[in-house]
Subunit: 214 residues, 2 copies
DNA sequence: GGCGAACCGTACCGTACGGTACTGTTGATG
DNA sequence: CATCAACAGTACCGTACGGTACGGTTCGCC
């Protein structure tokens, strides 16, 4: 289970990516218990021997799955335009909706469940990996947006991480955990729009400058 | 696995409570994987046969553990005194600290991990049980506090659940999930006080009446 | 055509776990 | 003392999983 400290991913072959895809689908459908080496081999039409040659270990396979999924979600932003009070609010709401939809995704939920299940055992290697590749990545987008807002004189905050923490809490609250615990996520997806708007509204009341409430 | 819809708990015998205590300790120490029927029997100095007679099933044992732990945490409040801006803020900060400390507790983390691990399998029965007995219970305390604040003219909100959701998000953000993923909780426990104060401060800026900012 | 690497499919092994059955042993009751 | 219920301890069974080994097949390369 190599795991470079550098953000350079191991980059598996196309065939191996197909296998990881099958494994993810298997995990989503059947949960962690269904994710056996034999099951993955069957679902991906490959041999167990190849699995062990490619990923070394069951844990190696899990790590590879997380890395693979994270490499697909990779969020890009680059808000090059100049921000006004309206566009800042729009971008924040968009970010909030994207965040909620990512968190509610089948694969995201399954991987988080998997990592949490292993957290007590393996010294939380998968957990920190998920944290690093998942929230850190999407947090960079939010951080850039927040700093752009501050540069434009629309937001006032001291520590950027604190502000992001507040924004995250307002958007997500305990929704993520409830979904992880099995609460039907499909039922609340329709509400993401309103939830995002309310969270951003509250955030702007907390961190918006007087200039932004015009 | 009987599970009465009424809040009346099955109430096991003292001996069985001892067994459940051992099982919880075992779960906290070794994680879900260490929680085998033989291990529980050995740790509790009882026979596997008795385990199956008392709890019927491994799942029954898990349910019993959750119910048992929830019955111990049972939060009581009854803020009989009349609220001022200062005492409301104090009570909110106290609530926030209690909430963070409960969430960071060994047993709470272990049980949440357990329930999340089983969420995809058993139709989230354990998850909803944890939700019902855990957050619902502590939410009642917060709800009472919020309504008392509104009655005293210190808080302004339409929906109580919405306000509580916001308060919860401000206090916890993604801290709970990060701890569940294995991030060292001991390191951040010292920061709970400041975190609680900041969250309550933000909450009061959002929901406090002009009367409370005197 | 001959060769070797990669790989699929499958059989196999050791182990660990959930669940059951059986044999004492204790302790209360009459 | 006889009886009976509850229980500890243990042996046992079936199964399922992680990991390995091996025969057969494809495919590229000389």
């Amino acid at each position: 289970m190599q795991l470079a400290a550098h953000p350079h991913q191991p980059d598996y072959s196309p065939r191996q990516n197909d296998v990881l895809d099958s494994a993810l689908r298997l995990l989503v459908d059947g949960g962690e218990k269904a994710l056996t080496t034999a099951g993955v081999a069957r679902a991906a039409n490959c041999s167990k021997e190849s699995l062990y040659k490619w990923f070394g270990d069951r844990d190696g396979l899990l790590s590879a799955m997380i890395g693979f999924q994270a490499s697909k979600v990779r969020t890009f932003d680059d808000t090059a335009e100049t921000l006004t009070a309206e566009t800042l609010q729009e971008h924040l709401v968009l970010f909030a909706r994207d965040l909620l939809e990512v968190l509610a995704g089948d694969v995201s939920l399954a991987l988080n469940r998997l990592a949490i299940g292993q957290a007590s055992r393996d010294g939380s290697k998968l957990g920190s990996m998920l944290q690093e590749r998942g929230r850190r990545q999407i947090g960079k987008r939010a951080g850039a947006l927040l700093e752009a807002g501050r540069d434009a004189g629309l937001l006032v905050f001291g520590d950027r991480d604190d502000a992001y923490d507040t924004l995250y809490g307002l958007i997500v609250s305990d929704l993520h955990l409830r979904m992880l615990l099995g609460e039907d996520s499909g039922r609340m997806v329709n509400d993401f729009g309103r939830r995002a708007e309310k969270a951003v509204s509250a955030f702007l009341r907390l961190y918006g400058s007087e200039k932004s409430s015009a």
